[in-house]
Every structure is written in structure tokens, then in C-alpha cells.
């Protein structure tokens, strides 16, 4: 005897016909469609064989998935355990891992001119790593922009958004007196601190990434205290694009120059300066500034895109 599922497979009956018809009439009669869907569901439920067969198949698939998942997890755990077992013990003598570090510690100051050896490492010896990281940030910002940006094409219209905007303006954080008052005192201090960390990357802990993150955080606090309108006056999408582009391309060209001269044994014309002064460390300071600008722009760009789906006020307020 053929059961319902078998007949459906053979094409004798079409269970989907009613449903696809319903999809076409979607706009006219929702209530009717719901009723009909319920009837269809009841009808399908009544064919016990079909239900049982689907359930059985699902059960089997689920077991396969579970087994594969467990195998994958165990494999990954084993691989990681194996690799960790290969690492040298904490504090143990290890020639391969310590030669480079010793070289950095012994000759770092004279070769890079930076007192902070970490800055000398990430912005001089391994500057291409940092260049890659900056580009990762840049790419991440572009991805967020692709996903979240609201422009005239994908702007939603309707009452729900209108109410949301009204609520946003009514409960806006910039109306908060406490936040505003504290922001007046706090934001300049955080900005100066960020700039200090940024400019002293070669002399003290910090550098491009930390300083940029602090400046980005300061801009976020400024925005939540005083509203987007004030920030839009100077921070537009155009400015953001130009700053990021100039910083990244400056980084690439400057570091390309250094690596080119270094690899070919040519003379490097960038002065090292006195270690400890702000203008020292050769290219480390400008590179720090470049990285910091990219990071600050990215941080604030994330926040701006998450909050209202755009950078800068080119569109005006959403739904205005």
C-alpha cells in the first residue's frame, strides 16, 4: 500500500499547492489564509504515516549531526592539546624563541631609537604586522558599513520608525544633565590623555592602538553627552574616509621605503633623534599617529553606525 508520503514523492498529490496559492493572496486576506493554513496543517497531521516518516528521518539526521559534532570537537581539542604539548615550558631555555627577543632587547634602542621596546618592535621590526592590523580595522569598518548603513535606498519608512525616532529624541542621552556636566570636565582630559599616549608611544607604554582607542572612547563619550549634531559639524564621512585613506597609504609608503632601503643596503635618510625626546625613534612617531587616527576613526565609526546607521550627518537625522 502506498502511503501519503510515497504518493507525494510520485507526484500523485501536491501538498504544496494550497500553500503556494496562499502565498500569492498574502496581501488580501490574512485571517482567511491563517485559517486555511491551520486546516492544511491539520490535514497533514492527520496523515500519520507522513508525520511519522518525517519524524523518523529527522531523528536519524539529528543523530548523524550529533556524532559529527562530537567527532569535530574531540579532534579540535586533541590538535590543540598536541600543539600545547609541543610548546616549551614556562621560563625554560629555548634557543629558537629567545634569539630574536635577545636581539631586540640588546640592539633595539640603537636600531630603532625607541625607549619603549614594544613600540620599537611592532612599528619598526614588525611594522607590516601592524599595517595588516590597521587594514583589518579598516575592512571591519567597511563590513559594518555595508551591513548597517542607512541611506536613501534602504531607509525604512512608516510609523514604527517614526515612533522609534520620537522615542529616541525624547529619551536622548544628550538631555541628561549629569552626563553633560561630567562630560564637560571629562572629555578634554580623556582627549589630552589619548593624545599623550599617542605621541609618547616610543617613550612610554602605549602607542598608536591604545591612544587611538582612548581618543575614540573620548569621542563616543562626547557624542553621548552632547548629541550627534555637534560631532557632525567636524566629523563627516568625507573626513573619516580621507583621514583613514591618508593614514593607511602614508603608513604603507613610509614603511615600504624603509624596508626597500634596508633590504637593498641603501642609506636611510630618516633621522633617529635623541632617545627619550618626543621627536625621536625615526618613523615610529608618525606611524603611531597614523595607526591612532585609523583606530579612533574606526571606533567612532562603529559607534555611529551602530547607533544610527551612518557616519557624519550627510543624510540628516533618520526619517527626517
Amino acid at each position: 500500500m502506498k502511503n501519503a508520503f510515497q504518493r507525494w514523492l510520485d507526484g500523485d498529490i501536491d501538498l504544496m499547492a494550497n500553500i503556494s496559492d496562499a502565498a500569492r493572496e498574502h496581501d488580501h486576506a490574512r485571517a482567511d489564509i491563517k485559517e486555511r493554513d491551520k486546516k492544511i496543517a491539520r490535514e497533514i497531521d492527520s496523515r500519520r504515516e507522513t508525520v511519522l516518516m518525517i519524524a523518523r528521518e529527522r531523528e536519524g539526521l539529528k543523530m548523524v549531526y550529533d556524532v559529527i559534532a562530537v567527532i569535530c570537537c574531540v579532534l579540535v581539542i586533541l590538535v590543540f592539546m598536541y600543539i600545547i604539548a609541543q610548546l616549551p615550558l614556562y621560563g625554560a631555555e629555548n634557543v629558537r624563541a629567545t634569539t630574536v627577543a635577545e636581539r631586540y632587547i640588546e640592539h633595539g634602542l640603537e636600531e630603532t631609537g625607541a625607549i619603549n621596546i614594544v613600540s620599537g618592535m611592532i612599528l619598526d621590526y614588525r611594522a607590516f604586522d601592524t599595517l595588516g592590523e590597521s587594514h583589518v580595522l579598516f575592512t571591519a569598518l567597511i563590513c559594518v558599513m555595508i551591513l548597517l548603513r542607512v541611506d536613501s535606498k534602504n531607509q525604512r519608512k512608516g510609523f514604527e520608525d517614526y515612533y522609534a525616532t520620537m522615542r529616541e529624541t525624547y529619551f536622548a542621552s544628550e538631555k541628561d544633565t549629569i552626563l553633560r556636566t561630567i562630560g564637560i570636565f571629562l572629555v578634554p582630559c580623556i582627549f589630552v590623555y589619548g593624545i599623550y599616549v599617542l605621541l609618547n608611544g616610543q617613550n612610554s607604554p602605549g602607542g598608536g592602538f591604545s591612544g587611538g582607542a582612548i581618543m575614540g572612547a573620548a569621542m563616543i563619550i562626547f557624542t553621548s553627552a552632547f548629541g550627534f549634531d555637534r560631532v557632525d559639524r567636524f566629523f563627516t564621512l568625507k573626513l573619516q574616509t580621507y583621514v583613514t585613506f591618508v593614514a593607511l597609504s602614508f603608513y604603507s609608503f613610509a614603511k615600504g621605503y624603509v624596508f626597500f632601503t634596508g633590504a637593498n643596503g641603501l642609506e636611510n635618510h630618516i633621522p633617529k633623534g635623541t632617545p627619550g625626546a618626543i621627536l625621536s625613534g625615526g618613523l615610529i612617531l608618525p606611524l603611531d599617529v597614523a595607526v591612532g587616527l585609523v583606530v579612533a576613526c574606526t571606533m567612532f565609526g562603529f559607534y555611529s553606525l551602530f547607533r544610527r546607521g551612518q557616519i557624519g550627518g550627510s543624510l540628516g537625522r533618520i526619517n527626517s
Binding site: P205, I214, A217, Y303, F306
Partner: protein
């Protein structure tokens, strides 16, 4: 065992506690706050491990900006939740509960 060792052990226990608690907390808002406190503890640990530059970054990015982005996202999600018709998509009941 001197005092700094004990302090370190307390911090590491806190760190692990935070990491586990983030996964077990039913409320998303609380999970975000615990995640931010995880970053703060990690920041202290970086200082104890003598890498203050990482500590600064961790405090600014981990405890500050990323937590903020999570909060903004939560706000957006809840707004969408309120707009959705109840019963249509399902996850409208139990605001902030993880499903």
C-alpha cells in the same frame, strides 16, 4: 606565598568565574556587564604581568567600546522586538532572555 601571588590567584579565579558566568546568565544585559567586568579583571592582570600598554588597550576597548557596542545592539534588538507583532515570529516573550 606572598601577597601579590594571592592577589593574582584571586584575580584569576574571578576571571574564570566571569567567563563562565557570561555563558550561564539568562539576561543578555547582565551578560554584557559581566563581560565588561571580565575585561576589567583582565586589565588588572595585564598590569600584574607588566604589560601596561595592553592594559590600557584592554581597558579602552574591552571594558569600554566593545561593551558599549553590545549595549547599543541590545537596545536596537529590543526595539525591533517591540515593533514585531507578538506571536508572529515567536521570540517576543521574555525580553532579554536568551533563546
Amino acid at each position: 606565598m606572598d601577597l601579590s601571588e594571592i592577589f593574582k590567584i584571586i584575580l584569576i579565579v574571578l576571571l574564570i568565574g566571569c567567563a563562565v558566568a557570561v555563558n550561564l546568565t539568562p539576561s543578555l544585559l547582565q551578560a554584557v556587564i559581566i563581560f565588561m567586568s571580565y575585561s576589567s579583571v583582565m586589565c588588572l592582570l595585564w598590569i600584574l604581568m607588566e604589560s601596561p600598554d595592553l592594559a590600557i588597550t584592554e581597558a579602552a576597548v574591552g571594558a569600554g567600546v566593545s561593551g558599549l557596542l553590545f549595549l547599543v545592539t541590545l537596545k536596537k534588538i529590543r526595539r525591533e522586538d517591540e515593533n514585531a507583532e507578538p506571536g508572529e515570529t515567536g521570540p517576543a516573550e521574555g525580553k532579554g532572555s536568551r533563546r
